[in-house]
Symmetry: C2
Subunit: 233 residues, 2 copies
């Protein structure tokens, strides 16, 4: 169900005060066994919190849950929550990071179905667009939903969370470059960052219907724009 690797959370459990190299070996081992067990338990608890939050988000179709709800759903205690997370924001961050990682995986898999480098990029862009748009379509956590919140309070961490996706797009761009399909004047990583941002944010806004005659921007348009820009050749 959930990624087993625990993200930027965990730590703050095993803080042995004097397990430096001068302690007797048996003591070291004992302490280690103890801390290892503790760490395991901690991971399971963190896991349960994350799953609970996930479940709530899925059910309420929004990221506006309270810590209380998470605690109740996970059948643990508030005390425990704050023992494992620095605050709500860390929980959100963890979920966000997880969602990004999964999305990156999913997109990578989808893109690998194409042989032409530009087709790979195209598939990636379309899928990212779909995954980024809010609304009922989002089976996956509504993963762009809290990005804005976090972007304000913890921009650095958000950037870290973006890393897997950025890496993926950088890979695809590099392949395109190798095939001579990239404009000479642009670096793959740069193109990747710009494309990613554009697609994600445009997708996000595309949910709200322009009340009037104007239709929201589509995945196809976003792709065309990123690929070709707007200026005449």
């Amino acid at each position: 169900m959930r990624c087993s690797k625990v993200l930027h959370v965990e730590q703050k459990i095993d803080a042995p005060v004097s397990t430096t190299s001068q302690a007797p070996a048996w003591k070291q081992r004992a302490v280690e066994r103890s801390t290892k067990a503790a760490k395991l338990r901690a991971e399971q608890r963190v896991e349960r919190f994350l799953d609970a939050a996930q479940a709530i988000i899925m059910e309420k179709r929004t990221t506006d849950f309270t810590v209380q709800e998470v605690v109740e759903q996970s059948r643990q205690s508030l005390r425990s929550f704050y023992q494992h997370f620095d605050g709500k924001h860390e929980l959100l961050l963890a979920l966000f990071e997880d969602a990004m990682q999964r999305s990156a995986d999913q997109i990578r898999a989808a893109a690998s179905g194409q042989s032409d480098p530009l087709d790979r990029l195209k598939v990636a862009v379309h899928l990212l667009f779909e995954l980024s748009r809010p609304g009922p379509t989002a089976q996956r956590p509504l993963f762009t939903e809290f990005a804005p919140q976090l972007l304000l309070s913890h921009p650095t961490e958000v950037k870290i969370a973006h890393a897997p996706l950025l890496t993926l797009f950088a890979e695809l761009m590099t392949q395109a470059e190798a095939a001579g399909r990239l404009r000479a004047s642009i670096k793959p990583r740069r193109a990747a960052a710009l494309t990613m941002q554009t697609v994600m944010f445009v997708a996000q806004s595309s949910s709200v219907a322009d009340d009037e005659h104007t239709h929201p921007i589509t995945s196809e348009e976003a792709w065309d724009f990123c690929a070709s820009g707007f200026a005449a050749p």
Copy 2:
């Protein structure tokens, strides 16, 4: 100092229950004089709240002010605040709308200095980029700062607030199209929307330094990207 036209706020003062066409004329006039005065006062009050909020934002370099602070700074009362605004979000919206309007004006003025349509667009993009990035540079209210918050809670209103900028870019794009400088396959308004979004959001993220070797994306890169895309011609 501030735009005189009051935005989407005001109203909710003059709600005459029976000023329809069947009331006697003298009464109508009396009521009108009264409501007009009331409206005037209301506008001044709204004005003071907006100015106060602006001042606080400028001073604290963040949009995280409390309603209390605004009330105190404006030397009015909480009661009055809630009589004129539906809540804090309306105040934010008003500020945001105002900031967008001013930015649009500023950009339009700057762009008009160029004669070539693409140069106009280029100037517009660069200025928008500068205005959108947070940090100490922002002499103007940090106007993208609350956009994310509002985008979540009131997407429709945010879209409305974007209108002046969108219109401006649409104008510039249309001029470019008329001069045959736009790709044939793209509609001016679409190009405008895409460019605007891309520039604003990329600028926003560009503030956080990629901790490592990577430099943040520059205004110039954003322009190149929007104008030419990433694919080889």
